[in-house]
């Protein structure tokens, strides 16, 4: 391999270090109006009145949108008014939108809008939402338009219920000599991408709707706007430039709708809506919370025989993507273990919390915390080394998943190899505990995970290649550059296939839905696989066309030709050949006659053999492959005050093939960083009114420089045979095992079971106190 695996510098690198890289909010135009939302200060309240009279007196105010019934929006269930009417269901929900000439005018006016609220009882957790007689977040759940596989239960707060019924539970429990059961919970939190979400909209006189948005799903914006508002899809053009971090949070469609409505209100004038940090945390969709109960049974050798699981996902006020997150969490509900008998009930619950978007790992870091903590409890009870217990039960080719997909080496990789490599990298055999002195203790915890991506079975990806007259190639793909470097990987795939210099591949970073071939959504660690396959097909298309012209000019059969170094040449005599520049726009003979013409390569890819899930048993094929991984976290606990320091974090994942060494390491390390922050400190603190008390980056704190541990990344390479060069998804996986491994390390260090997130010193202290009082 010449290009694959090398740390090729990202194509947009110099733009990003020089301030030239432009994101949605960096595009300005004269006459662009500013929109400002008025948001709900409560979790659940009736809107008793909205007085906009003072706001209208502010100079520069052009429009105020409030109190109007627009078509309901939402992906799995149409349950969300773009601007709240009748009542608000979460703290941060848009109640009005003011449009003015400048941001400060819009803000001044928004602050003068007087909304009268009457408080309603708040549903403050998914467990509360699940109780009989709980206040209803949606009284008319049965009347909403919905996707066929969304299964809401009217008269309750259940937005959907996904089931796994695999094997024979009675037999499973009968074979289990040791049984453990525990409950886990954590509240919603945030993606906290550094670029807050932003959208602009303009409607031209001919009806063309031009949107620019900081999104992972520009093609979905197009589809949904057309669908929600009965617009002509061909007249909607969505532009997405570089995106400043997304992590799933920008896969939801929200601000685009508001910007569109605001522009429409003003006869199509251009309007920009840019989230403040507080709005980005409160109003725009967040990271899902979870209440879980896990029961595992094993025989005397530690072989797990039965798993009974209940997940109550905190979908928040609107179901949007939470239903898909719930489904995804169900299909991989057991973690990466071979269990013959599985019973899982996974509910997407409505609460009065900010609603959920996907979050890096799409339910898997969340369920992994519950499963991996239970695995450690089981190991403890069985008196088996926790890493050995995982090795023993590791899912393998020939096993079946909870949804009964039969696994192969290609589609599941090699978890055992990951575990073995982890064992070395974290020096597991030294033992998990090292006492430093009376105060400090160093402890290691481990975990495992796996993930498939439950994306639409017909999700497409396309690629187009055009030539410049110097023989260099332009690569167009609908993948959004959200920071993962996927577009550079695509250039590497193309350069490898054509055996050419990767510097001669130019990648278009911006996506526009009119001229860029669709890539469903830039989510689910699917860019390299799907867009990569499309690029390979486009490369084949280009090779075929180049050879066709060259064969004629060189008077040689196509079968004798090779492509490499931006040339087409004779395999047995490479000196005889033609440079791309001489044939990519047709070959011109000395007398002017020209053959061939502009070469345009096209490729597409669609996933194969995926199905929906059986509503009663969950049987079905939800995704094409699983990436397994093993993790270790080492912490140093101060036993005096329960503060702790992150010493080391390690991920070993079966990446199939490393496509770009430094980029791959960066993805895994960055994901670990996010996972440790989620596990150790990030959460929304709610009060009794459902208000988020910490919607700022000084009270909601991601890791900062110097708070990070040492990171260790290990790769196992079991190729996924149908993926470009064997690569598996790798963007999310470093995150997924961090909560479990950190929870396991701290539980062992503190001598208490820590089953809630975030794992802050206060939580450890409370658990210690509870244990102490229980023993009195």
């Amino acid at each position: 391999m010449e290009v694959i695996g090398k740390s090729v510098i990202r194509k947009e690198a110099w733009d990003k270090v020089s301030g030239r890289a432009r994101y949605t909010n960096d595009f300005q135009s004269v006459g662009m109006l500013s929109a400002q939302m008025v948001i709900s200060p409560y979790g659940h309240a009736k809107i008793a009145g909205i007085d906009t009279s003072k706001a209208w007196q502010v100079p520069g105010v052009r429009a105020i949108l409030s109190g109007k019934r627009y078509p309901l929006t939402g992906e799995a269930i149409r349950d969300r008014p773009p601007i709240a009417v009748d009542k608000v269901r979460y703290h941060g929900e848009p109640v009005a939108v003011v449009v003015a000439d400048t941001p400060s005018q819009a803000k001044t006016a928004a602050d003068l809008i007087n909304v009268k609220y009457e408080l309603l009882p708040v549903v403050n957790s998914p467990t509360q939402a699940f109780q009989k007689g709980a206040p209803l977040v949606h009284e008319h759940l049965g009347e909403y338009k919905k996707e066929e596989d969304s299964l809401p239960v009217p008269g309750t707060n259940i937005a959907t219920h996904i089931k796994i019924r695999k094997g024979d539970m009675e037999q499973g429990w009968a074979e289990s000599e040791t049984v453990v059961e525990a409950s886990f919970s954590f509240a919603p939190s945030d993606h906290a991408a550094m670029e807050t979400r932003c959208a602009t909209a303009e409607i031209q006189p001919d009806g063309t709707i031009i949107i620019m948005t900081s999104s992972q799903a520009p093609f979905m914006v197009k589809r949904l706007l057309a669908d929600y508002f009965d617009e002509d899809m061909g007249k909607i053009i969505v532009h997405t430039p570089l995106v400043g971090g997304a992590y799933g949070g920008k896969a939801a469609v929200q601000l685009e709708v508001l910007a569109y409505l605001a522009s429409k209100e003003l006869g199509g004038k251009p309007v920009k809506l840019f989230n403040t940090r507080e709005e980005d945390i409160l109003t725009s969709p967040c990271h899902i919370g979870l209440d879980a109960t896990v029961k595992l049974g094993a025989d005397r050798n530690g072989k797990i025989k039965a798993a009974e699981i209940r997940y109550l996902w905190d979908g928040g006020a609107y179901s949007d993507k939470a239903i898909d997150v719930t489904r995804s969490g169900t299909v991989d509900c057991t973690g990466p273990y071979n269990i013959a008998n599985v019973w899982c009930d996974s509910y997407c619950m409505y609460t009065n919390h900010p609603y959920a978007a996907p979050f890096r790992g799409f339910s898997h870091s969340e369920l992994s915390f519950a499963i991996e903590r239970t695995m450690d409890l089981l190991a403890q009870k069985l008196n088996i080394d926790p890493l050995q217990l995982r090795y023993l039960n590791a899912i393998m080719p020939g096993d079946t998943t909870p949804t009964r997909v039969r696994l192969t080496k290609s589609n599941v990789g090699d978890l055992r190899k990951c575990i073995e490599k982890l064992r070395e990298l974290i020096q597991w055999d030294e033992g998990p505990i090292k006492v430093i002195n009376d105060r400090f203790i160093r402890v290691k915890g481990v975990s495992c995970s796996w993930k498939t991506s439950t994306i639409d079975p017909n999700a497409p990806s396309g690629a187009i290649l055009t030539f410049n007259r110097d023989g260099s190639i332009n690569l167009m793909s609908g993948v959004v550059e959200i920071g993962t470097g996927t577009k550079t990987i695509l250039a590497q795939i193309l350069a490898e296939k054509l055996k050419m210099d990767v510097d001669k591949v130019h990648v278009r970073m911006e996506v526009d839905t009119q001229t860029t071939p669709e890539h469903w959504k830039t989510v689910a660690s699917r860019g390299t696989y799907m867009a990569g396959r499309a690029v390979l097909e486009a490369a084949e298309d280009v090779i075929r066309q180049l050879k066709e012209v060259a064969a004629c000019v060189l008077r040689a059969p196509e079968e004798d030709l090779e492509v490499g170094g931006s040339r087409v040449f004779l395999r047995d005599d490479p000196v005889i050949g033609l440079h791309f520049k001489d044939i990519c726009y047709g070959y011109k003979y000395p007398n002017g006659n020209t053959i061939g013409g502009q070469i345009i390569g096209r490729g597409n890819f669609v996933l194969r053999h995926l199905t929906g899930l059986d509503p009663e048993t969950g049987e079905g094929k939800p995704g094409p492959e699983w990436t397994p991984a093993a993790y270790g976290v080492e912490i140093e606990l101060d036993r005096r005050d329960y503060t702790y320091r992150l010493v080391k974090a390690c991920t070993v994942l079966d990446i199939g093939r490393v496509m770009n060494q430094k980029a791959a390491e960066g993805q895994v390390m960055g994901a670990m960083s996010m996972g440790l922050a989620f596990a150790g400190r990030e959460t929304f603190y709610f009060d009794d009114l459902g208000r988020v008390l910490n919607p700022q980056l000084r009270t909601y704190r991601p890791l900062r420089y110097g708070e990070n541990p040492e990171y260790v990344v290990g790769f196992v390479e079991t190729p996924q045979l149908d993926s470009p060069y064997g690569a598996r998804g790798a963007g999310e996986h470093g995150l997924m095992g961090m909560p479990g491994a950190l929870g396991n390390a701290l539980s062992l260090a503190a001598g208490v079971q820590l089953n809630h997130l975030p794992l802050i010193p206060e939580l450890i202290w409370r658990a210690k106190e509870a244990k102490h009082h229980a023993s009195l």
Partner: protein
């Protein structure tokens, strides 16, 4: 709101501008001068994405009014050209989405100017004022240390 005529010295050039007294330096850099390299991340001084260099020191431009910058030398990311710290960020993959990058680079650039021999503790004190959500910080640490060592 009172408007004022001011002159800002940015990236080696004087700019005559009309601004509101309440306009932040960040707002004026972006909206009046088109220097969008400085990013709004929190408008609250928490994230450092808007960091610029004022008279040699890093400054969060969301916390400074434009009128406070009168008479000072302001350098933004657009004022750096192929500096060693930019090169190091590229080589060490010290960014992913790139949104926090200008702020980090301006902070690093100021650090290198003020403390060319900064030790690990000093680096930490300076850089913990900025947030990068994508990387693990290890890459940024490598980048800044490689430049300090060269000095």
């Amino acid at each position: 709101m009172a408007l004022q005529q001011i002159t800002l010295h940015v990236n080696g050039e004087d700019h005559n501008l009309t601004v509101r007294s309440a306009d932040t330096l960040l707002f004026v850099l972006r909206e009046k001068l088109g220097l969008t390299g400085s990013k709004p991340g929190c408008l609250n001084g928490d994230c450092g994405a808007c960091t610029v260099n004022v008279d040699g020191w890093p400054m969060k431009s969301c916390l400074m009014l434009a009128i406070e910058a009168v008479g000072k030398q302001v350098t933004t990311i657009e004022g750096l050209h192929n500096t060693p710290i930019q090169q190091a960020f590229v080589e060490e993959f010290a960014f992913q989405c790139g949104y926090c990058t200008p702020g980090f680079i301006m902070n690093c650039h100021s650090l290198i100017e003020q403390h060319p021999d900064a030790d690990g503790q000093t680096i930490k004190e300076w850089l913990e004022s900025n947030i990068c959500r994508c990387t693990s910080y290890i890459e940024i640490e490598k980048a800044v240390k490689s430049v300090l060592r060269k000095d």
